[in-house]
């Protein structure tokens, strides 16, 4: 099983995401933002970082990278796509996911070990978790506050499309403590915290992020 990891100029966590893919049991395939094909991957990860230096808005320029046309098309056909942090921002800019990520409420970049609750384990990226399972993974961003209009929020909640919520104090002002959401089909997931930085206790706060990468393997085997 092949999982593509896209590198845009300014992407930072691509090698970390590839490491996590391998730790999860799949093959990691590097994809370049200017690539004209997806190299037969079965799933795609948009990793964290500052693609295009966050010029204009986070993710606003990456959304127009050639490879994104292919990702949007493949996502429409059901390919699992995970956007982490800046990747989440790109998915929102691409309209694969609703809403937007805005500046943290305290206006500082924030790097901390964050507890989140997996509230939807039916997506391609969360099936390894039990519903309600709480995990601790790093949160690190300057613009992580999830915002959307009331109607969208009600829809996300009613359809069970919030996949993870922050536990405890709201770290960044996200509506309804939202840490991650999915699309209607459940194949596209955006997540603000970083599961790829929590695949072993040596380099991360826990190994509890690994579930995102084993989930995708399960999704493919089915």
């Amino acid at each position: 099983m092949r999982v593509g990891v896209i590198t845009f100029p300014g992407t930072l966590d691509d090698r970390d995401a590839a490491r996590a893919v391998v730790a999860g049991g799949a093959e990691a395939v590097s994809l370049w933002h200017a690539d004209a094909d997806l190299k037969n991957v079965d799933a795609v990860i948009l990793p964290g970082g500052f693609s295009y230096g966050d010029y204009l808005r986070c993710g606003a320029i990456s959304r127009f990278a050639p490879v994104m046309n292919l990702v949007i098309e493949a996502a429409g056909k059901g390919m699992p796509v995970l956007g982490i942090c800046n990747g989440f921002q790109v998915l929102c800019e691409s309209h694969l996911l609703p809403g937007a990520l805005t500046r943290n409420s305290d206006l500082h970049f924030l790097c901390k070990d964050q507890e989140i609750e997996i509230v939807n384990n039916t997506t391609a990226w969360t099936s390894s978790y039990k519903p309600g399972e709480k995990i601790v993974i790093p949160l690190k961003n300057g613009e992580g506050s999830f915002q959307c209009d009331d109607e969208t929020l009600a829809k996300l909640e009613d359809e069970g499309r919030v996949i993870a919520r922050y536990v405890g104090q709201n770290p960044n002002g996200s509506r309804n403590l939202i840490a991650g959401i999915t699309n209607e089909r459940g194949n596209v997931v955006g997540l603000m915290p970083h599961p790829e930085h929590a695949i072993d206790e040596l380099t991360g706060p826990t190994a509890q992020g690994l579930g995102f990468f084993t989930s995708i393997l399960n999704a493919m085997v089915k």
């Binding site: 230096g53 500082h108 970049f109 790097c111 790829e196 380099t203």
Partner: protein, 741 residues
Amino acid sequence: MTLDTVAVAQTTPENAQPFAELGLKPDEYARIKEILGRRPTSSELAMYSVMWSEHCSYKSSKVHLKQFGEKAPKSDALLVGIGENAGVVDVGQGYAVTFKIESHNHPSFVEPYQGAATGVGGIVRDILTMGARPIAVMDPLRFGPADAPDTRRVLPGIVAGVGGYGNCLGLPNIGGEVTFDETYIGNPLVNALCVGVMKHSDIKLAKAAGAGNLVVLYGAKTGGDGIGGVSVLASETFGAGGSTKRPSVQVGDPFVEKVLIECSLEIFAEDLVVGIQDLGGAGLSCATSELASGGSGGMKVALDKVPLRDPSLSPEEILMSESQERMCAIVEPNKIERFLEICKKWDVTVTVIGEVTDGDRLEITWNGEVIVNVPPRTVAHEGPVYNRPLAQPAYIDQVNSQKVNVPMPTTAAEIKAAVLKLAGAPNLADKSWVTAQYDKYVQGNTIQAQPDDSGMVRLDETTHLGVAISTDANANWSYLNPYQGAKLALAEAARNIATAGARPLAVTNCLNFGSPEDPGVMWQFAESVRGLADGCLEMGLPVTGGNVSFYNQTGSVAILPTPVIGVLGVIQDVRKRTPMSFKVAGLELFLLGDTEEDLAGSEWAFLHGVRVGQSPDADLAREMRLIELLLEGNAFFAAAHDLSQGGLSAGLTEMVLRHNIGATVSLANPAIDLLSETPGRVIVAIDASKTSALEALATKYNIAISKLGTTGGESLTINESVIPLTQLRATHTSTFPRLFG
């Protein structure tokens, strides 16, 4: 304005030139005329002025810094020593590591965010220039009093700048310092360290060899920012009035640097460059003259080819601009096509601006007319050297002869109050407000970061080889005795690495001082360098490079002498490191090392406004035995934590709060035991079954050992004083949010 060419200069010898405004002294200007046999052109004057600045030429420090070479210990580890962009050490398994600290003090006072950001950017490019992939940064910072209004202006901006730039580059920030003292009020210190890794065969040097090879400028376009940064900003004392000098601060774009890093590493991987130099202080003046000096000396550059952000820039300004995110490479003609291709892939602007020549002159033209024709060594390496007068300042005898007289706690309530006072003191309080703004996880190899004793990163995922780095300075001790202060900082940095189980290997430094034109400051500097060189020789650690920052003073008030010492060490298996604190109850706590009445220069004395007495003497032989003990004990230590500022009180506070496991400790002489800062001490936690093994080690290495107590519970209990962890944590963590929002 007419172009001041070499031809014009030859026919107008008497033209007045603004050398003083550019920071040159009359005799320096005379020497330039002597070297050239004529007056310099305005472009040549610009080049000499920035390259002969204190910042670039080390003209006041050179005579002292040579001790690092003369007293260098024998070391097989040193692959590239002082003089290149950064030193390189062999860490085994074919890996080489390069690391260096630089200051960006003056710009960060003028424009905190950009000053700090470009400080990070500059040191990262130095590391990249050696051929290495940058893998981590650290940032020792010093500010005026924590509650001073200007600190509230400067600190948030500097922290945001360090984070804003480093985070966007994808470099984990693995440590540093945040210290406050009133002498830094007009002179905050922003020191930035970067470490990079490469294979031995990938080391790159700054040299332009081979006639016909091309001089290639790539990266950001050149703008008008940072003109005179090294000469006007970094090499002068700030007056009380005067302009803010803001235009001399560079403006950074970390995205451009990130792309430049990846682009450069791809270029290096295909072995496409003969020599390489980044454009930092003194910009193109520095890069061209240093590259040419590193080769045979001959180089021709067409300055009009330099891509500009601002087309109105004059040749002089282009030569002096310190626009960020630029690199200069020497490329063989048959490799230029591939070089350009890789730049295109990364959308990096690239221009061939000249070529290496057979001669020994650096010749720069502007639209075909020669505006610079100089022997490059005279610009880059043969600047003025000053043996400045130095004299022990009067304060030394005065403070050394006084005894520290501060109130000492006696009752249980007073002891509790003292521990809490230290826990909440700005110099010792929890720094999460700062470090939470830095990404410590990116790259996925961070093993330790603040608040650990040292930063540690993994180099190899298969063999688990890693490096640890610590930076330390104790300016209070350096003030009382700069010779001992430098040695003590070295010992502390080395100890901070050894507590985790890493073996110290090499040293870098950032020497922050007041004006070298003050004989007292110069004496402090000379004593510090002598102390560091002697210390490194005794401990067998080579100095791989460093940085000197003078003129850190406002009016006649100099900063405390602040030699920041960075020590890098190697750990064979990062999985086996000793953590700085314990995760379980029921462990035995021991103190290694004697505790004397060392209150001079202590945090306790500082909190009482007292800076007198005599600093401890560094006993480096004992420090080395302690390091060996720590490395051997690594096999069975549950935790080990260095004691430094704040003594045992701060050390215990940090340990119990780390994993929220308390401790019960009994002390014979609690006031001194808690507050003294005798160097060479470490708290270790072990399973009770290892007690005799620890005692045997202490005997073997002749290190004093005493039982402190045991771990566990929900309080830090010292004799009859019970401090609930909730209260200790609240005190420790509330200081920064209260001060900085």
